[in-house]
Symmetry: C2
DNA sequence: CGCTCCGTTGAAACGGTTCAACCCACGTGG
DNA sequence: CCACGTGGGTTGAACCGTTTCAACGGAGCG
């Protein structure tokens, strides 16, 4: 399958006329990364942005003491690093391959030139950034307004929705990473999960989680009920 | 001064040919709000976005228990509510007039039509959203990775930079609001500020703050040093 | 004068982190 | 095949920063 065909099915470029996919494919470059390899660091100049063909990318920040907060884990078809392209202020976070990954890189100059010509591409881009802004709003809300049990409950329900899985979730990231994604540490996550099990809200077996009491989790997610 | 002239000097529309300012002025509607009046609520349908002519707008979320986290306080020339225009998913937060304010409202449909025609407007918009995304990144980082003294120190230094004020800052919002902006509560803010005074980092007199030890604040902002 | 609103201060409670120990699955090399 | 080390996950106890609750002070105002 050619690159243009891949581009046609990702959110950022869907709905564009196919000759645009050709043009986009022409300016894209393929890059491969090993697990653990850094793609860019906070403050690096934003020379372009990336789309994931395969693999998984972790975007995060690190505190002076070394604690890491994962902002997002991106999978195939998603894009990242667009922000720096438009602000010209360098990347605001780190990006690292969380698994062997293959990416498409779109150089800043060439891409901006394309946007300048085609406003429907610009509109798609605006939609993607807006959606990300909404996600960030939710994350900020969670971090500042809710405690960890609520964030975990919400995340579990989210995973369940996303995978259309019938109450059965298999974590595709380590619990340590999940902790960082929720803005906490493995120990705390572990304790809260065992409390949830003890109360019959979930069942846990390694990285497999079964939701037993959906309503109970919802109550906790909205902080209508507390986890004793 | 006509609306078109006002539009010419705000970031979102600067650099556009003046006939575009005319067009934009034509689709804009003026709206006035009393202090405390709500502009939109979380979840409201995003029928358009706003630009501030005068006054001040507070954008925030509220937890189930009523605690509020201020996301941003916007002043004249700034825009807000754009996100909902492009996601079509409703506003992600509340907006309320923090003072008697006059706003320009741009209806969704008409504005999107303009963007579709003029890609340089789209590029400006992309830049604005990208910058906001960067701000959110910083806020998330602060909330999850730093403690309150660091956030306060960073904010004071930021205010000082912004106003080009030589170490003298006059808070234009209440300390309660500042607390919410920093993701904490008035009591905690008060305690930390008095600790900072006691250590000779700042001097405080009502809403006037003088920075006495810039380097000391920087050390605390980066958590290289702690506030005893 | 007395009211309210905002800011401040103190004591107690809480949620989360830190530090340390431990378990277990897994892979490696003797 | 087993001993060993390693890394992820779990558990306990002490600790720490922040919040909560309550009380109080001062500024502004009818």
């Amino acid at each position: 399958m050619g690159i243009a065909d891949q581009l046609a099915v990702i959110p950022l470029f869907e709905g564009l006329p196919s000759e645009h996919h050709q043009t986009l494919a022409r300016i894209a470059m393929t890059r491969s990364y090993q697990k653990g390899q850094m793609i860019f660091a906070e403050g690096d100049e934003g020379t372009g942005f990336y789309i994931i063909q395969s693999g998984r990318i972790k975007v995060f920040k690190i505190s002076p003491e070394g604690k890491e907060q994962i902002f997002h884990i991106f999978g195939p078809g998603e894009s990242f690093g667009e922000v720096a392209v438009f602000t010209g202020q360098g990347f605001p976070a780190f990006a690292e391959a969380d698994a062997q990954s293959s990416l498409l890189f779109f150089p800043r100059q060439a891409f901006v030139a394309l946007i300048r010509k085609d406003s429907s591409l610009a509109l798609n881009m605006l939609a993607v950034l807006s959606r990300r802004l909404q996600k960030f709003s939710a994350l900020i809300e969670d971090l500042s307004l809710k405690e960890v049990p609520a964030r975990l409950a919400a995340h579990l329900l989210y995973l369940c929705e996303k995978d259309l899985a019938d109450n059965k979730i298999s974590l595709d990231i380590s619990k340590g990473q999940l902790a960082s994604l929720l803005g906490t540490i493995p120990e705390t996550l572990s304790r809260i999960m065992s409390r949830m099990s003890r109360q019959g809200l979930i069942r846990m077996k390694g990285s497999h989680i079964t939701i037993l009491d959906r309503q109970g989790l919802k109550d906790i997610a909205t902080e209508g009920k507390k986890l004793t």
